[in-house]
Symmetry: C2
Subunit: 157 residues, 2 copies
């Protein structure tokens, strides 16, 4: 997507656009790198199935990583894989406080939850999981792929 | 920045890159639009001063709005103005669990807090403020302008 000043922004096979295609040499032994999950939604579903079986209750799972963004400094956590959670909230058509329908508002709920979770996970403290409460109203079918913009609809590809 | 299919992505005088330069016809009476604050950091400082005086304790303030992003569906809340909070966490040089220094990890804390706050603010429920607890360790001087990437360092401008 872009290559400049020693930074490579690449699109992965999944459709994620991020630095070095998500390949990371942090938090692994010397000589090793980590790559993104082959199918993050399948990973989320497997974790969800195991957690639901172990806990005896329904949970949603987000598999996330920190990505940089154009125009803004700093990384934020984003949702790669999602299971058991609606990743987008579509407010289109909902009336605002003056009775006019909202026109284009779709909120990336799973990305906002992932961002919230990162605050307590830190980067080098070996905290692999954050538990998020209070979002059960959005439980239901969903996948991280819903958060990927179709390239044909993307003004930046 | 981009203009296509009836969508205009513009950079504001502040340096925010967003749809329609942040001009929004939602949640205002017919015939009106809202614009972004002239100086979001000054707005955040004013709110912080008033809140600290009224409450008798230190608080941080983030003034936020929902922005779209390239490559991904859905809006997320981002921090425009910041007062009393460190907006970025710089992990560079911190050792990972294998003792190797993290190389490029700066986390946009204020954007992650703004994203978390949006989850409870919704879009048309007239909730103007969310109270965030548990982030006092990052209290201190800071400004939203720190989250704006210098255009000379931006691969996407």
């Amino acid at each position: 997507v872009r290559m400049d000043r020693g930074v490579l922004i690449a699109e992965t096979r999944h459709g994620f656009v991020c630095a070095n295609a998500g390949v990371d040499a942090s938090n692994v032994p010397a000589g090793w790198v980590t790559v993104l999950p082959r199918d993050p939604d399948a990973s989320a579903r497997r974790l969800r199935d195991a957690l639901c079986a172990a806990l005896g209750c329904a949970v949603g799972v987000i598999v996330a990583d920190t990505f940089g963004r154009p125009w803004r400094e700093g990384f934020v956590n984003v949702a790669l894989g999602v299971a058991g959670l609606q990743p987008l909230i579509d407010y289109r058509g909902r009336a605002d406080q003056f009775g006019r329908p909202l026109e284009s508002t779709i909120v990336a709920l799973a990305d906002e939850i992932a961002a919230a979770a990162e605050i307590v996970m830190r980067k080098a403290d070996r905290i692999p999981v954050a538990i998020v409460r209070g979002v059960a109203e959005w439980a239901g079918p969903g996948a991280g792929t819903q958060l990927l913009r179709d390239p044909s609809q993307d003004m930046f590809r």
